[in-house]
Amino acid sequence: MGLLKGRATITRYTVSGEPPAGFWDFIDRRVKAHAFKDIESSTEELSVGWCAINDYFDTEFAFMAYAMEPYVLLGLRVDQRRVPATLLKKYHRLEMDKAKSYLDEGRNLGRVRREELKDKARLGLLARIPPETKLYEMVWDTARGELWLGAATRKVMDLFEEHFVASFGLELTPRLPFLVARDLVAGSQLAPALEEARPWGPLAWEQGA
């Protein structure tokens, strides 16, 4: 599920903070500086960065194709290697058996050594497991300071929020119902009523309320 294809899921944010003069140059510099970096031939577990909204292999951003004024349209590419617990257990055991074969009979591996061997097994597996790639779409209306993320899970939102703030130094606030309500009634006579509003509770019609 994303924004531009299929059924969409939208998490809305308000972007606040003062971008510097020369906004589009600033955006271009920051997008390129925080573009996705490949971890295919490494043992890194996680890489998060910007890519083209319609192609996660495109991290060059030729002709600023992501800029469709007033919108900035980008993909957040997240590559992650996951070591299945069962595989780790197997290879940890193999490493321990190998290490034990060098010990005198009756001696066992200490806790620290066992942990070292677990790390070794884990690193060996990370080098052999390719990362899984996911792309999350972002549409940022820079004129209104509103941003949509094509995802709604807490984990993705955390990754996105952290990367956005690190990239642009601007603040992101999720548009939760009360904050939307506050914006909608701002300056009207309903504003104090919103602050004082209490839940209706059960509609309690049976009690004649």
Partner: protein, 176 residues
């Protein structure tokens, strides 16, 4: 009171709004929304009811089938409010459908009117992207416009109590 406490205290707004949406679509069938005109509403295939804020109780999840809807109405009569629903919108003759959840009013599983297939041509792509963005805008405008209508009535010192009474009477109807 800090912002997170305030947000926690006002979480009921989402639940009451979604319950109002169900009420609205059954009583008026839609509403006049700013910038969009008349928005026709239909109940989708999913309805989740839960206890009102501060009350105890379990959740009831039903599909839109006739029998299940009766179960949802019974839950409503027992004092539960809507926590999530799927709703259909007709805007300018085009059909949209989306899931809304009370806690964050996040739009999920949004089905938009069909657009042309994606194109390899960059100019074509830009046109399609902007068309899709415009459809997303329409949906969010409709959701926010409806929320605004709800707040206008809910927070008004005269209309608010009247609305609550009308919703109570609607909720009490057998199999309405």
């Amino acid at each position: 009171m800090n912002l997170s406490e305030l947000l926690e205290q006002k979480i009921f707004l989402g639940q009451e709004f979604l319950t109002w949406l169900w009420f609205l679509l059954e009583t008026d069938g839609g509403a006049e929304v700013k910038d969009l005109g008349w928005v026709e509403l239909t109940l989708g295939e999913r309805l989740v009811l839960g206890p009102a804020m501060g009350a105890d109780g379990s959740r009831v999840t039903v599909s839109g089938a006739e029998g299940s809807l009766a179960e949802a109405r019974e839950a409503l009569r027992q004092g539960k409010l809507v926590e999530a629903l799927r709703v259909g919108l007709e805007i300018h003759g085009e059909e949209y459908a989306l899931n809304l959840e009370a806690a964050e009013l996040t739009v999920k599983s949004l089905k938009l009117p069909t657009t042309a297939a994606p194109s390899e041509d960059p100019d074509g792509l830009e046109g399609l992207v902007l068309e899709r963005v415009a459809l997303l805008e329409n949906t969010l405008k409709a959701a926010e416009g409806l929320f605004s209508l709800f707040l206008t009535q809910r927070l008004d010192p005269i209309e608010g109590p009247e609305l609550r009474k009308a919703m109570g009477q609607w909720a009490a109807q057998e199999g309405a």
